[in-house]
C-alpha cells in the first residue's frame, strides 16, 4: 500500500500552536503508556483500579490534544491523512515533545508516585490557565482535563505524604525518588519561544505563574510528607520539549508502536 500511513509524520511544517498541542498530547500519551506498563503490578488490588483510572484519563486527554493537532497539521498540508493515531504511532522519538519527567521508567512505587506528583502539581496549574485559553477548543479540553488532573493530584499528594511520613523504609524510598526525579523538573517551569508565543496569543498561561503555583504546591506537600525539597538551583536536565529525550523514550515507543510498524499495510485494527 501506498498511503501516508506507512511514513513517519515529520515535523517540518508545524506552527507554535501545533507544537504546543503536541507537548500537551505527548505528555499525556507517554505518561499514560507508563501506566499501561503497570497493569497487574500495583502494590495492592485497589491500586490497580486507581492506576488504570489515571491511565484512562491520560489516554483520553492524549486523544483530544493529538486529535486537534492532527486536524491543524492536515489543514496545513492540505491532506486528510493525519490523525491522532498516526501522531501517536508513526512519529519517532525526536518528534515527541513530552517532558523528560513523564518518560522516566516506572521503578518502584515511590518513583511512580514521585513522577506523578511532580507532574500533577504542574499539570493542574497549567490546565487551569489553559481553561481560559483564547482558543475555545483548548479551553474546552483543558476544563475537562482539569477535573481529572485535580483528582490525580489529590491522590498523588496523599501517597507522597503517606510514603514520606509512613515507615523509615518508605521515607527513604520516597526521598530517593524525589532526589532522582528533581533534575527533570526544570523544563516544566522554563518558558521557551513556543511558550512565549502561546502566551502572547492568549492561548496558554504564563509559565512563570504556573511555576510559582507549582512551587507552592510542592512545598506544601513535601513539608507535610516530612521530605526534604531538593534545591531549585540544582542542575536541570532539559530537552524533552524540543525533542531531545532520555534513552528511555525510544524503548517506550518501540513497544507502543510495534503493531502499526510491523504491519504497515494494515489500515484498520
Amino acid at each position: 500500500m501506498q498511503n501516508m500511513a506507512q511514513k513517519n509524520i515529520a515535523q517540518t511544517t508545524q506552527t507554535p500552536l501545533t507544537d504546543c498541542l503536541l507537548r500537551l498530547g505527548d505528555n499525556a500519551l507517554v505518561l499514560g503508556q507508563r501506566h499501561a506498563q503497570l497493569c497487574g503490578k500495583a502494590p495492592a488490588l485497589e491500586e490497580e483500579l486507581a492506576l488504570m483510572n489515571v491511565g484512562l484519563d491520560l489516554f483520553g486527554q492524549a486523544r483530544n490534544w493529538l486529535g486537534y493537532a492532527a486536524e491543524l497539521m492536515a489543514a496545513e498540508r492540505a491532506t486528510d491523512k493525519v490523525d491522532a493515531d498516526q501522531l501517536a504511532f508513526r512519529r519517532d522519538a525526536q518528534d515527541f515533545r513530552n517532558l523528560l519527567l513523564v518518560e522516566q521508567p516506572n521503578g518502584d512505587f515511590a518513583d511512580i508516585i514521585g513522577r506523578q506528583f511532580l507532574f500533577d502539581a504542574w499539570h493542574v496549574h497549567l490546565l487551569d490557565g489553559l481553561a481560559h485559553s483564547s482558543d475555545p477548543r483548548i479551553a474546552e479540553v483543558a476544563a475537562k482535563s482539569l477535573k481529572e488532573a485535580t483528582y490525580h493530584l489529590r491522590r498523588s499528594s496523599e501517597w507522597v505524604i503517606r510514603l514520606g511520613d509512613g515507615t523509615e523504609e518508605s521515607h527513604t524510598r520516597m526521598q530517593r525518588a524525589l532526589n532522582n526525579l528533581w533534575q527533570f523538573t526544570g523544563e516544566l517551569l522554563q518558558a521557551d519561544e513556543i511558550d512565549q508565543a502561546m502566551l502572547a496569543a492568549g492561548i496558554a498561561p504564563d509559565l512563570q505563574t504556573v511555576a510559582t503555583r507549582w512551587k507552592a504546591t510542592v512545598e506544601e506537600v513535601l513539608e507535610e510528607a516530612t521530605l526534604e525539597r531538593p534545591s531549585y538551583d540544582a542542575w536541570m536536565y532539559t530537552g524533552g520539549k524540543v525533542g531531545h529525550h532520555t534513552e528511555h523514550l525510544g524503548f517506550l515507543l518501540a513497544e507502543m508502536q510495534y503493531l502499526p510498524r510491523a504491519y504497515p499495510d494494515a489500515t484498520v485494527w
Binding site: K41, M52, G55, L56, F59, S170, E255, T267
Partner: protein, 328 residues
C-alpha cells in the same frame, strides 16, 4: 467457567428427612428460592464450598488481567488502548466485588490470596494459555468472556445473596467486553489485510478448545455437581452450559468467516444443537494441576506484585496510625 472443579466435600446428597432441623430449614429456604444471607445459619460445607468457589472466581478475574495486560502496552490504536484498559480495569473491579462477597462468609481476603500464591487455590484454566498475537485480545473477549457470561448469567440467581448481587453487577458491566472482543476480530476479518486475517484464525485455533474446557469436566466426571446444584450454588450442569455456549458461538464464528479446529463440529437438524469432537481432558487436568504453558508465570507475576507492594501497604498503615495518634 471461572470456577472449575469446586470441592463440596460431599459426593452423596442427604434427603430432607436425613437432615437435622437447622439444615432442613436451610435447605427448604433454598428450595423456596429465598436467598441465604451472611448472618443466616448455613452448613459448614456450604460455607466452605462458597468460599472456595467465590475465591476461585475472584482469583480468575485477577489472574485474567495478565494475559490481556500482556498486550495493553502494544494496543495498535488509542481507541483500542482505551477499550482494553477499561476492560482490564473492570476485571480488577470484578475480582474485588467477588472478594468482597467472599468476605461476608468470614473468609479473609489476604489469606485466600496467599492460597493463590502458594498454589493451594485454583483459578480458571484458560488464563494459563499465552496471548501471542493482537487477535488474541479479540478472541479472549469473544470466546473467553463469552464462556464466562454463559456461566455467570445463571449465577445471578445463585442461592447466596452477596454472591448473586456481585454477579448482577458483574454481568451488567461485562456486556461490553464480549462485543469489544468480537468487534476486534470482525474489523480485521472484514477490512484487514491477509496477515491480519491469518492472525485471527491462528488465535481462534489456539483458544477454541481451551474455551470449551472452561466449563469444566463433563457431567459424568463432575462428582461435586450434585451437591452444588442441590444448594443452588450452581444452577446448570457443565455440559448444559457448554452446549449453550457452543450453540450461540458457532453462528458467530461463521459470521466472522473463520473455522473451528474441530473436524467433527456439525449442526444436528433434529436436536437443533451443534455437535462437537472429543475434548482433550488430559490437557485440561494437566493445566488445572499446574502444568499449563503459563501457570508458573501467572502465579509468579501475582506474587511478585503483592510481595513488592508490602512496604507500600505497610507505610500506608503506619501513616494512618500516626495520624490517628496525632488526632487523639
Amino acid at each position: 467457567m471461572y470456577a472449575q472443579l469446586v470441592e463440596t466435600g460431599s459426593n452423596k446428597l442427604k434427603t430432607l428427612d436425613e437432615m437435622d432441623p437447622e439444615e432442613r430449614q436451610f435447605q427448604e429456604r433454598i428450595n423456596d428460592e429465598i436467598k441465604i444471607e451472611p448472618k443466616n445459619w448455613m452448613p459448614d460445607a456450604y460455607r466452605k464450598t462458597l468460599i472456595r468457589q467465590i475465591s476461585q472466581h475472584a482469583h480468575s478475574e485477577i489472574v485474567g488481567m495478565l494475559p490481556e495486560g500482556n498486550w495493553l502496552t502494544r494496543a495498535p490504536t488509542l481507541k483500542r488502548k482505551l477499550q482494553l484498559m477499561a476492560k482490564i480495569q473492570d476485571e480488577a473491579g470484578h475480582g474485588l466485588y467477588l472478594y468482597s462477597a467472599m468476605e461476608t462468609l468470614g473468609a479473609d481476603r489476604d489469606e485466600e490470596i496467599d492460597k493463590l500464591h502458594d498454589g493451594r487455590a485454583k483459578y480458571s484454566s484458560i488464563f494459563n494459555y499465552p496471548t501471542l498475537n493482537w487477535a488474541d485480545m479479540g478472541t479472549v473477549g469473544w470466546l473467553v468472556d463469552g464462556a464466562a457470561i454463559v456461566n455467570q448469567v445463571p449465577l445471578q440467581r445463585t442461592s447466596y445473596g452477596p454472591y448473586a448481587r456481585a454477579m448482577i453487577r458483574v454481568c451488567k458491566e461485562e456486556s461490553f467486553h464480549q462485543r469489544q472482543g468480537f468487534q476486534i476480530l470482525l474489523t480485521m476479518m472484514q477490512e484487514g489485510t491477509d496477515e491480519q486475517k491469518a492472525m485471527v484464525q491462528d488465535s481462534i485455533n489456539r483458544f477454541w478448545w481451551p474455551s470449551l474446557m472452561m466449563f469444566g469436566p463433563s457431567d459424568e466426571n463432575s462428582p461435586n455437581s450434585a451437591q452444588s446444584m442441590a444448594w443452588k450454588i450452581k444452577r446448570h450442569s457443565n455440559d448444559e452450559l457448554r452446549q449453550r455456549f457452543l450453540d450461540q458461538t458457532v453462528p458467530q464464528l461463521e459470521l466472522l468467516g473463520c473455522t473451528a479446529p474441530d473436524p467433527d463440529l456439525k449442526y444436528n437438524q433434529e436436536t437443533g444443537h451443534y455437535e462437537f469432537g472429543e475434548i482433550d481432558w488430559q490437557e485440561f487436568f494437566d493445566v488445572v494441576k499446574g502444568n499449563g504453558p503459563c501457570n508458573r508465570e501467572r502465579v509468579e507475576a501475582r506474587r511478585h506484585a503483592i510481595d513488592n507492594g508490602a512496604w507500600v501497604r505497610e507505610a500506608a498503615v503506619a501513616y494512618a496510625a500516626k495520624r490517628q495518634r496525632r488526632a487523639a
